[in-house]
Each structure stands twice: as C-alpha cells, then as structure tokens.
Amino acid sequence: MQAKITELRGARIYDPTHGIDGEVRSVFVSGDGIVASPRDPGTIKELLDLSGCVMMAGGIDIHTHIGGGKVNIGRMLLPEDHLAERSTRGEYPRLGSGRYSPSTLLAGYRYAEMGYTACFEPAMLPANARQAHMEMADTPIVDKGAYALLGNDDFLLRQLAGGADPKLIQDYIAWTLHASQALAIKVVNPGGINAFKFNQRRLDLDERNAAYGITPRQILLALAEGIHALGLPHPLHIHGCNLGVAGNVNTTLATIEALAGLPAHLTHVQFHSYGTEGDRKFSSGAQRIAEAVNANANISIDIGQIMFGQTVTESGDSMRQYAGSAFAYPKKSVIMDIECDAGCGVVPFKYKDSSFVNALQWAIGLELFLSVTDPWRVFLTTDHPNGAPFTSYPHLIRLLMDRSFRRDMLATILPEAAAASVLGSLEREYSLYEIAIITRAAPARSLGLSTLGHLGIGARGDITVYTDHPDRERMFKAPRLVYKAGEQIIREGKIVATPRGATHVVRPEFDSSIERLLDTYFDQYMSVRRANFMVSDHEIEEFGQSPLIRHTARR
C-alpha cells in the first residue's frame, strides 16, 4: 500500500539546487520525503493551497554553538540571561530559558519556529564528544551533527613534530571522526590553544609552538591535505589564527594563500577581517578578503555577523578568549585547558553601536556578505551566540535583502564607524533565490547532505513555507508551515509535533592499525581508556534516541 500523499500547491518555489527561482509548482510529500507527482491523483489524500506563499527547503545552520561543554558552561555562568527570558507553560511543548545561551529544548523549538530543520555544532572537542551528543540529542526537532576539533591535540602535534607519514594523519582524522561521531573536522587557532598551555599568548601563521616547534601553517596544511585525501564532503573548517586582532586580515589572506588551492572553509570570517588603518588602528579588511574569496574558488566562508546587544562568546580558542576576557561584560569569564585535546573560553560580551570597533564589526560582516559574489560559497551565520543569537537571522536577512532598511540601520551606528566602511555605497540586495542558497542549498552541498537543502524528488521532507511579505524580517521570523521529515511540525506559528531529529556523521575508511598506536598513547598519557573515549552508535541511537545518518567519504 502506498503511503498517503500530500500536495503542497500554489507556492512560489525557491530551490537553487535545481535552479528553480520562484516558479509556482506543486510539491508532493509522502512518508518522510518528497515524491514525484503521482500518476493517479486519487492517491493524493491532502491538498494544501499555498497561493501567495514562498516555499524553500528547511533552513540549515552550518555553524552554531548549540551543544557541548563550553555552551553548557555559558548556560551555568549566566543565570541573568535565563532569568530574563523564560518561556511560559503552554508556549512550547516544554519549558526552557535563555536568549543568547538557550536551553537545548528552547534552541530546538526556536530553530524550528524559524523554519530551520538542521543545525551543526562546529566545535566538538573529541574529549567532550559524549556530552556534546547528549546536548544535541536533547535539542528537539532539528537534525544535527558536529565537527570534531583537531590541531591542538598533543597527539597530532607530536606526530607532526616527529614528521609523521601523511597516511597516518589521514587515519587519525578518520578515526577521530568515528570516535567522536562527527561529520567534519574543524581547527581552531591551529596550535595556538596548545601553545597557550605553555604560556604563549599569540601565535601567528608562521610562529612556532614552543613545545613542539611546529607552526600553524604546518598544522593547517596537514589537516586540509588529510581531509582532501580522505575525500570528506566538508573541507577543513578553519577558525584561523589571531581572531579579533586588528591587522588579522593579513593572517587570513596568508592562510588562503597557504592553502594553495586546497578546499577549505573559513568560518566567522568577519572576526578575521580587520585592518590597522585610521586613527584608531582598526579598519575594515572586508574588501580585501572578499577579493581573495572571489579569486579562490576553493574557499568558502561563513560570516559570523554581529548584532548589537548582549551575548556570550563561546570558543575553543582559549588563547584569544583569555585576551578577550579583559572586555567581559558582565565581568566574569571561564577559561579552560582541556584534556591534552583543546581548550575553551566563555566570555559574555555586549556589542554596542556606539563603540567604534563594534559598529565597524557590524559593517564589516555586511560588507563581506555583499561583496563576495558567489552565494554558493557564503553561508549565513552569526556564529551563534558569538556574534549574536541565531534568533537574529530574520533581521539579518532583511539587512541583506532591503537596501533602504540597511541604510536606515547604518545611519544609527557611530558615524565614524559608518564612514570607515564602504557599506553605504554597496547597492546589492540579496534575492529570495540567493537567500535560499546561503541558508539551505549551499550549506547542504558543502556538508555533503544530498537529501537536505533542496526540494527535488528523493529529498527529505524538510520544507518551510513562508507567507510572502515585503518586510522580510517579519516573513522569515514566523513561517506559516514547517515540515520535518514529512511531518508537519509548525502550523500557523505553533509547534504541533516534536520529532527527535537525526544525527549526521561521516564514516571514512581507515587502517585500523592506528588503533594500536592510539592504545599505547591512551595508556601512557590520557585520562580515559581509548575504548571509553569512543562514543558508540548505541549511545546516539538508544540513549540519545536520535537516528544516525551515516555519510560516506567520496573516496
């Protein structure tokens, strides 16, 4: 017997994966996916008239800190956020709290409410993977996945210092993905977090880690090459050196050059696009970065847009977060050295439009969005919660789509900062098609999620239907309908179902002899046994009640 078919009729479809740009056509949903138009119309059991609506695949956030140690430290550190914003009984299926460090339940509900159906935690420490997966499992509705952090772990640095065979590095990368149940690999301040444990306070691309004598450049290349050789869908996800430092635009450009054509993703690039010009020795490097991204097809970026207001910054970059802790607001922060694996820093912060630096950061992010020409290589993020909570996406979309609104906003920031940016002269307005690229189609493609981010036959039934409205903020804030895996989860702005959401992992093959080497290493140095370090499928599927979706590497 065929499953029931629902016809979603009359909406304008934006499906960039298939080049569909606002065409009115029907989409058929059956079971958990999108199916072809049935030959026998009698099998259509439900018909929804969506005239006047806009339909896209469910949104995908490629970089959002939703689960894991530092996120939870942020929650514990900041009861002021949670006391100020608490949901009321009946508002959501369960209670929750927090605006910029939301509880897992609330994060899932609010993503769904915004039409997002998949979120990816970009900084999972392998040593903390088990808890990161617990938190993600408790983030309802949305699919999730995580990027494992490498590049500050003593194992890799020792191997590199000893001139390890690239094949061993590949095996180690692959093993880490298995062990931590990850979808991709991220590097944060390559070698710098480790160097901070030896009291180095900065580490530029070609500076040596005092303990191991190797440079960030070596680490970046070893990881990017290893990932490329393994054929992982998502390239190395890079949070580079010198985050937040004036003049880091040069580091970022040098990083792009160092990669020499290897595929790579530069994350929250706004925080890495600062020059040193002007009286305040802080200027926009966005145009230079955009030029480099435009010229290097191997590079993709997400922005890490900031928004004015209170938030908390949560990063694995303990070195830079320690430096930033001097500017904590409120005045408290957590800095951690972690398990010969990595570190973290949690620093609350308030971005002010009256601050030259903050106002210019805001403009730099928008400059980047508007100056990189290929939307397939730009993903919409605020680096939640580092630049702003993810709930500011509708506002950000309006800034991108509505030039006059953007100019009005620009007029409200510190005039010196506005004058230091070319933002006011940028005419570009994103189309709905381009928004569909940067919020679903491109992230899905970059992560290798072939059934997500589009509305073609065989796609998973993750669908968002917006009521068209000239105020794009209003439109994107509250979709009329959202489907998750073929099930209606949002109707008229209300959550009507709370499925658990799947966990995406990638499983490249590797030579298992690495496990013997790791057994010895774990025996000698680590605080847990290798077998217990590894997160089992059972833990995700049974304890977390999240179906695992296993992706394969291309090779």
Binding site: M76, K332, I338, E339, S536
Partner: protein, 415 residues
C-alpha cells in the same frame, strides 16, 4: 548441574562511585562483583556491597512493580508540590526525573546540592580558570590540594593523575611537587608521591588570601605569616603549570564559597603573566551529571522549581533541607542509586527509588528497587571536571529496572 555461575571478566570498566569515574577497572563477575586492585578502597567496598534483587514495597509490604508504580502515580497525581531530591542517578535518570518534575510542578535538588551550589555561586559571580584531569596528569609541575581529603574520597587521584608512570611532559612529572594546604587531620599519606603539608590554623579562605598577598609581594599583616606559605608563593611563581585542587563538598559550609573564590583569585593573578589552573573534585552520586543535564535542558543549574508558569531558579531556596523545613513540599520522591543515601527525615508521603538497603518501610512509603548504573544497566555519567563523560557498562542482570525506566513508567501513568 552446577549452581556455580560462570565468571565473566569485564575490562575498562568505569567506576560510578565518585566523581573521578576511573575507567580502567577490571571486574570479575560471578554471583558477586570483584573489582581488581585498581579500584580504590571506597570502590572495592561499594562493589562488594551491591544489593541483590528486591521486590517493591508499599508501606513495607511486598508488592509487584505494577502495583508500586500505580501507587506512586497516585501519590504524584495527588501532590501539588512534590520535591524531587537525591537525584543520584545517571544522565538518563536525570532526563527522566526532570521531565517528570516539570509535569508534576516539582522542585529539584541533588543530594550533594549544597556542594554543587557552592561551586556554582563562585562561577556565577566571577568565572574561573580551570583544567581537567588529563591536563593535570601530563602538564602540572606543582599541585596544591586545597583542603582536599583524598583519604576518604577521590582515592585514585594520586595513582591515576598525580603519579602516573609517564607524562607528555616527562620533566614536569618527575619534578612534580604535591602540596597539601589544610587542617592536619586530612593530610594525604601517599607512597607514590610525597606530599608536603602546610597545616592551616586559620580558615582556608584566609590562608589563600594570605597566599595571594604574598604572590603580589604585598606586605601582609598578622601573626600567621608562615614561612611555608611564602615558599609556596615562590614555588607557584616558579612553576610552569601549577594547579590548585579543591573539593566543594569537603569545604566548611561557611567558608566554602570564600575558599573557592580565593583559590580562583590566586589562579587569575598567576595567569596574568604565567599559566595556572584550578580543578574542583566533586559531583559524586551523579551530581555532575545532574548539574550539567539540568543546565542544558532548562538553562539553569539545580536548585530549580517547576511549580510556576515559568522556571524558577533559586538555589538558596530550593534546597532539600529548606524545602522540607518550610513545608514547601507535600511529597518526596527520592532517587539514590549509587551509595546508600537515606532521604532526610520528614513526615510526608514518599516514593523511594533506590537499591535494597535504602528501602523504607514507614507509612505512606512506596519503595521501588532500582539498579545501579554501571552495575545493573549501561548508562553515562559526567566526570568531575565537567568535560569528560564516560560510558557505564552493565555488569550483571538480576532483573532490576533503571531509575529512568521507572520514572518514565510513572510519567506514562500520569498521562
């Protein structure tokens, strides 16, 4: 037919009996549990004392699980203000307990809630710089135990982390100094790593403030300007990675917050020019897991009430002692699945989820025996450093349900 059960050997077993979660035990299982010598004295006792199967009781009379659950559900339905206390369970148990507490408008607290709140208060007021057991093992060259009594708890700290055979920074391991700062009665006796003792006469917080002043080379008034403390200050300045360790549950209830805050200040001062870090030992009986899971699921740590229309976080108010003393509860649901912790005395009806030995036979008492995570069923726990979590194995099956299973059945019985 032999009645002797087969012996099964389990390797890399995680011990659930304190916040260190040592995971290198080998346990032989026949009709008893026999951990190897890597288990500390406390763990050895705990494994030996694991309770057999027991039947549920209502007011002391044996009943079926179904009957016990039905009666417990009746109590929960009738209750306006249930108190969910103890919470000595694994992550799955905490998840289920929080879901049920929300459904029943309960208040939640852990049996080590006071100690957990002590650390939390310092965190929320000033933050801190901390580290993890793996870092201590490999990187520390000076370790200061701030009043930590490792004779009674965290007994494997020295074997596994302070005196391991090898370290990534071998020179630091060989030159590693261990200093105990605190009252003489709790000084460690450790053959593996000699420990220097600085016996304190004043409160620990005052001693640490004194140390902080010495580090800042400020002149310190007062008679207790010990030479030992001055040389500790010098050693801290000379060290490459000094670590201060405290155990909130072992600190004096009046001086605890101040001690942790003072230790954090010492560390923060050091970090201005060199590296240093702190580490808290605690979170026993699933406390670290309860704290962490409560924070991620609700946004708040423990000391939480689900009574109102919104979550209400007030750890000073929502703690077991005060809630019971002030008559703010009409039912106690007590969960303690690791060590045998009895609920506090009170006159309310109660539902007790615990292994045999904790069963209560009083009036209006539903006792439901549950298994111990890591013994009777698999599970997960968060370690004391709040970073590492470990998987717990199932070592035997005597038919005891998990706390999570019982709590979910109670939840279903309410719907």
């Amino acid at each position: 037919m032999s009645s002797r059960p087969a012996t099964i050997e389990h390797h890399d077993v995680t011990c659930p009996f304190c916040g260190l979660l040592c995971d290198d035990l080998t346990v032989l299982v026949d009709d008893e549990l026999h951990p190897d010598a890597k288990a500390c004295a406390k763990a050895t006792r705990a494994y030996a004392a694991i309770a057999p199967f027991a039947a549920p009781t209502i007011d002391g009379k044996p009943v079926t699980f179904d009957a016990a659950i039905a009666q417990a559900a009746k109590y929960l339905k009738r209750s306006r203000q249930p108190l969910f206390a103890g919470l000595g369970t694994d992550v799955a148990g905490i998840r289920a307990a929080l879901a049920l507490a929300e459904r029943c408008r309960g208040t939640v607290d852990h049996l080590h809630g006071a100690a957990l709140a002590r650390g939390m208060q310092v965190l929320q007021s000033r933050g801190w710089h901390t580290t993890t057991l793996g870092e201590v093992r490999n990187r520390a060259d000076l370790v200061v135990l701030v009043g930590v009594d490792i004779n009674v708890n965290y007994q494997n700290l020295i074997r596994r982390y302070l005196a391991p055979a090898a370290a990534l920074q071998p020179a630091r391991r060989t030159s590693r100094r261990l200093v105990y700062l605190g009252p003489r009665r709790a000084q460690p006796s450790s053959p593996e790593l000699p420990c220097e003792v600085i016996a304190t006469t004043k409160s620990l917080s005052e001693t640490l403030r004194h140390l902080q002043a010495l580090l800042g080379a400020r002149t310190v008034a007062g008679p207790d300007r010990g030479q030992a403390l001055a040389s500790l200050a010098t050693a801290l300045r000379a060290a490459q990675y000094p670590v201060l360790i405290w155990a909130p549950g072992q600190l004096d209830s009046l001086d605890g917050d101040l001690t942790i805050a003072a230790a954090c200040d010492v560390i923060a001062d050091l970090n201005k020019t060199q590296r240093a870090a702190g580490l808290a030992l605690g979170g026993d009986d699933g406390g670290q897991s309860a704290q962490a899971a409560c924070a991620w699921l609700t946004g708040f740590p423990l000391g939480l009430s689900f009574a109102g229309e919104q979550l209400d976080y007030a750890p000073a108010r929502y703690n077991t002692t005060r809630v019971l003393a002030e008559g703010q509860a009409d039912l106690l649901l007590w969960i303690s699945t690791f060590a045998r912790h009895l609920p506090p005395t009170h006159a309310l009806p109660q539902i007790v989820l615990a292994p045999l030995g904790t069963e209560l036979r009083g009036k209006r008492t539903v006792y439901i025996p549950v298994g111990t995570p890591g013994i009777d069923h698999a599970g997960q726990l968060v370690r004391t450093d709040g970073v590492v979590s470990l998987p717990l194995p199932a070592l035997r099956d005597v038919g005891l349900p998990s706390a999570a299973t019982v709590l979910s059945r109670l939840h279903q019985a309410l719907d």
